[in-house]
Every structure is written in structure tokens, then in C-alpha cells.
């Protein structure tokens, strides 16, 4: 653990990703799941930038820019869906929303 290296960032990324994934798996509130998905996205962003940092490439940063842009669009649509869900079926519990089954 002498010098700050790409492993540090990758480890952080992995930790965030795993925490996010566990959140998605464990929680039932769709809003929390949404937050955990954002957490996973950010973890991926850290990895991208870390690799770019290691290899002296800016492509990773450009990708992250796009990821953030897409995440914004996703958030807009996703939150609108959640709002509509709340309004229509009066719940945001993923365990109770299973109309897809029928």
C-alpha cells in the first residue's frame, strides 16, 4: 500500500458496486432501489475514470460524461414512472407490483 494506484480506485468502485447491488436485491422500496442503481452506475464511472487515469486516456472520462447524461434521462423517466405508479396503484413496493405476471 505504498503508492496511490489504480487498485485503490478499483477497490472503491467494487465496494460501491457490491453495496449498490445488495441494496437492489434487499430493499423493496422502488425509490431506494433507484438510488442503489445510481450507486452502481457511479461505481462503474469510477472504474472508467480509473482505467483512463492509469492508461493516460481521456476516453474513459468522455464515457462517464455520457453515462451521466443517460443517467439524467433515466432518472427523469424513472422518477416519472414511480410517480405514476404511486398515483395509480398506490404503492412503490416492488414486491406488490407484479402485474407483469398476469
Amino acid at each position: 500500500m505504498g503508492e496511490l494506484g489504480v487498485e485503490h480506485f478499483l477497490s472503491l468502485s467494487a465496494a460501491l458496486f457490491i453495496i449498490g447491488m445488495m441494496g437492489v436485491l434487499i430493499r423493496r422500496n422502488i425509490l431506494i432501489i433507484f438510488m442503489c442503481v445510481e450507486l452502481m452506475l457511479t461505481a462503474a464511472n469510477i472504474s472508467l475514470i480509473a482505467f483512463g487515469w492509469q492508461m493516460h486516456s481521456l476516453d474513459g472520462q468522455v464515457f462517464v460524461l455520457f453515462t451521466i447524461a443517460i443517467a439524467a434521462a433515466e432518472a427523469a423517466v424513472g422518477l416519472a414512472i414511480i410517480l405514476a405508479l404511486s398515483r395509480r396503484v398506490h404503492t412503490v413496493d416492488v414486491a406488490e407490483i407484479h402485474e407483469l405476471r398476469d
Binding site: L25, M35, L58
Partner: protein, 236 residues
Amino acid sequence: MPWDLIIFYMLAAVCIAAALGVVVATNPVHSAIFLVLCFFNVAGVFVMMGAEFLAVIQVIVYTGAILVLLLFVLMLVNPDDLPEFHQGKPVQRVVGGLLGLILLLEIAIAILNREVVGVTGTATPEAIAAVGGNTQAIGRLLFSDYLLAFEVVSLVLTVGVIGAIVLALPERLGEKVVQRKGTISLGHARGVDMEALGEGTPEGEAPILSGRGGFAKASGGRKLVMTNDPDEYTGA
């Protein structure tokens, strides 16, 4: 221990703690706060990797826009709709935790045993400084190699915004708006003032009638005239 390592460990520790807080917190608003904290520290990590521009973008977009939006939604959603955390099946939690652990193990193996290999790019710190900084370097790349992708992303954003507007429209036009009491002051852990309102339609809520000559009973027994047509007053 060099300064940068110390700073990194601080940022990472807060980051991971906040991330755990997101998952563990019983109150969704607390989760959101933890997420803000986490993202703030992630922005710090970005700065450490020389991505100042992205750090700022991360703060502006994620914390400044997406999470504010999320808080909005949190507060607009009826608290009765929010599931309690500990109602989740234990199986789900065990399986989730187990999977997380396995993945942690796998990734740890991968990180500890691998080296990053690949073609080293040209964006050395010196090269970036030569064009004026991180922002300028990204700008150059974005508007040359990634121009098409950039345009496509802007299109996606536009579509996303329109989609969000369509989805969030309360009801279709012409449909009666179903008023739900207490759409405000929601999402609060101990917001207990709901019962105070009691059941039944609150006084003062008049059904909205369309067309000419709609009369509705308003509070206080006073007649409420709802009209679209000014002639109604002057006519009979």
C-alpha cells in the same frame, strides 16, 4: 504515508459508509442524504484522478438535479405507499448478502491478481496541461471523436424529458382529477397529522364540473358558479 493516499482513504471510507447508509437506512430521505454524501465524496475521488470537470458535473447533475428530483418524488409519494424496510423476506436479504459477498470475493481476486494492461494513451498530465486543462482536453475529444455520440446523447435526453412529462401528467385531459388528501407533508417518518383530517371528502373540495351551467355545492352552503362562458351571467 503520502498525503494523497490519506485523502483517498478518507474519501473512500466516507463513501463506503455513506453507501452502506443508503442501503441500511430505514427512512428513504435518510437514504437520499447518504447518497448525496457518497456522491460528494465520489466527486472528490474524481478530482484525485484528474477529472475535475467530471467531478463538477457529478455534483451538478447527480446531486444538484437527479437527487433533488428524487427527493421531490419522495415527498410527493404518499407515505402509506412506502413499504417498511423490515417487512422484506429474510430469504431475500440472506441471498442478497450472500451474492454480494461472493461477488466481493471474486472481484477481490481479480483486482489483487491482475494488472491493467493496454495501450497507453496520449493524454498524459503534461499533454492535458498543454491544451489548457482537463476541461479543454475533454472538450476537444468530445467535439471531434465523439461528436456523433454527443448529438445522440442530446437526442436521448430530449426524448427522456418529453417522456417524463408525458408520464407525469396527472391524468389524461378530460378525466376527472381524483383528489387525494394530504399530498403534502409526506414521506416523513413520524408525520402523524394524517389522522387529524379524518375520513370522507374534506369540506371545500368541490367536484369540478365541465360545460355550461355547472353548479356545485361549496363549503358554507354558498353556490359556486363554474362556467366557461361569460354569457351565462348576462343571459337568463
